[in-house]
């Protein structure tokens, strides 16, 4: 039974994947209509998955409270916040005064604080890097960071226009070249992953 289900899933994935892919390359009214329908289904499924995700999140935290795990109080706060936000946004609308109040006075400050912590974490990580992996690439990395930082700041008592010019050159030439190389690698990896899915070799849907 399991094998039959897996074979059916693989056949469906391959067929739908090929139709959607062919729709990008060929101009055929029937193919394009099918492609649009499948893409709409994918969008609907992704939205349903988001709701399932919210329930998963709730379930994880309810279990945490029930088993008395460390940080249960935070789980309780999360659940209450989730319920209040859903009620406010659900009844009054996502752009209502109260929904925006929650966004501007709770979510935004919390995420901004995390961004501030992130800046410190990144500074510490860069300093730690020299101790952990001291090689030519690390030196280039750290020097580039310093040049970009020096070229980005403005000091009233110091003329840093030369650093700004060097920073601009770094961004236009070596950084762009490196970025393109990395992006080409990522694109090739993405295409290869797509082919494996279309061939039924990668089956994250089970089997």
């Amino acid at each position: 039974m399991n094998r039959l289900r897996t074979s059916l899933s693989v056949a469906l994935v391959i067929a739908i994947g090929l139709i959607v892919l062919a729709g990008y390359f060929l101009e055929n009214p029937m193919l394009n209509t099918l492609q649009t329908v499948f893409l709409h289904w994918a969008a609907i499924l992704a939205s349903v998955a988001l709701i399932v995700g919210v329930f998963n999140l709730l379930n994880v935290h309810i279990r945490k409270i029930n088993t008395g795990q460390k940080g249960s109080l935070y789980s309780l706060i999360l659940i209450l916040s989730l319920i209040v936000t859903i009620l406010v946004a659900g009844f009054l609308g996502p752009t209502s005064e109260w929904s925006l109040w929650i966004f501007n006075n709770i979510q935004l400050p919390v995420e901004t604080s995390l961004l501030a912590v992130l800046a410190v974490v990144l500074a510490v990580a860069s300093a730690r890097l020299l101790g952990r992996r001291f090689n030519a690439f690390t030196l280039v990395f750290v020097l580039t960071v310093l040049v970009v930082l020096a070229g980005s700041i403005s000091l009233s008592f110091l003329d840093l226009s030369a650093m700004a010019a060097i920073r601009s050159w770094f961004e236009r030439v070596p950084a762009t070249a490196g970025v393109r190389g990395i992006l080409l690698g990522v694109a090739l990896g993405t295409v290869a992953t797509g082919f494996r899915l279309l061939l039924g070799s990668d089956r994250p849907y089970g089997g």
């Binding site: 399991n2 390359f25 101009e27 994918a42 969008a43 499924l45 992704a46 349903v48 998955a49 988001l50 709701i51 399932v52 995700g53 919210v54 998963n56 999140l57 379930n59 994880v60 795990q69 460390k70 940080g71 919390v110 995420e111 995390l114 961004l115 912590v117 992130l118 974490v121 990144l122 510490v124 990580a125 860069s126 730690r128 890097l129 952990r132 990395f141 190389g181 990395i182 992006l183 080409l184 690698g185 990522v186 090739l188 990896g189 993405t190 295409v191 290869a192 992953t193 797509g194 082919f195 494996r196 899915l197 061939l199 070799s201 990668d202 089956r203 994250p204 849907y205 089970g206 089997g207």
Partner: protein, 250 residues
């Protein structure tokens, strides 16, 4: 008709043909070694040590939806999750996967379920081992931290779509002394991971995960096809530059 369509079709067709050729070659000679990526060798050792020490492995899949381009990196993460779940099946603490997107969360549970099913250990499966820890980038990072701090994690694999907030997850691993192997399709995250992770995966190295974790013939074939296609792209760029230099194309 799109003027670059023939090139796109040609590129995809060539990639596919090379992939199939490599698959046939590897089927005949399966023991040809891959080029060495030390991060994956260290991951193998870390998985073994985690199993021996009764510690947990954590796989963070990011928040790239599978119906979009960043989803490819998440799919690589799922392949790695499957291989790690199988390798760590004898551990007292089964691996835990966290994700920041609905479809990835469901697929992580499905992947764990099928991994345990394949080794006839379905009793090990608990849906809670495929968690969604937050649905926005920062809430995902914040929600993943308790997993690292409270679940006795000894190795974390980050494979998927992340932003710069991934540094918070890596920093948490550093604090608990956990080994971190990390790769992403996002450039910003790659720069952050290069500075913060013990074993960063740069560029296409992430997509080689399945091949190095013995996920099957097609993973090895696709890795070799990627390497071959990289040379095709390099030659194409050089040819294009020459043609432009001599004024053949504008």
């Amino acid at each position: 008709m799109n003027p670059i369509l023939p090139f796109e079709l040609g590129f995809a067709g060539l990639f596919f043909i090379i992939l199939v050729i490599y698959a046939l070659v590897i089927r005949k000679r399966p023991d040809r070694p891959l080029r060495e990526i030390p991060a994956f060798a260290r991951l193998g050792r870390s998985v073994g040590l985690a199993v021996e020490a009764g510690k947990r492995l954590h796989i963070s899949l990011g928040y790239g939806g599978v119906n979009d381009v960043p989803g490819a990196s998440g799919l690589v993460g799922l392949t790695m999750l499957q291989r790690i779940a199988r390798a760590a099946s004898i551990s007292d603490k089964p691996p835990i996967a966290t994700s920041g997107e609905g479809t990835l969360g469901i697929l992580s549970q499905d992947t764990l379920h099928s991994a345990y099913q394949a080794i006839r250990s379905e009793s090990l499966f608990d849906p809670m081992y495929g968690q969604i820890s937050g649905l926005t980038p920062f809430s995902y990072a914040a929600g993943t931290l308790p997993v690292i701090f409270d679940q006795q994690v000894s190795t974390t694999v980050l494979a998927g779509h992340f932003g710069s907030e991934v540094a918070l997850i890596v920093d948490a691993n550093e604090r608990v002394g956990s080994h971190t192997l990390a790769g992403s399709d996002n450039l910003e995250a790659q720069a952050v991971l290069y500075a913060s992770a013990q074993d960063p995966l740069i560029g296409e190295e992430l997509y080689a995960g399945g091949a190095y974790l013995n996920a099957g013939l097609m993973h090895q074939a696709s890795l070799r096809a990627q390497d071959a296609m990289r040379w095709v792209v390099i030659l194409g760029i050089l040819l294009g530059s020459m043609l432009k230099l001599f004024g053949v194309i504008k």
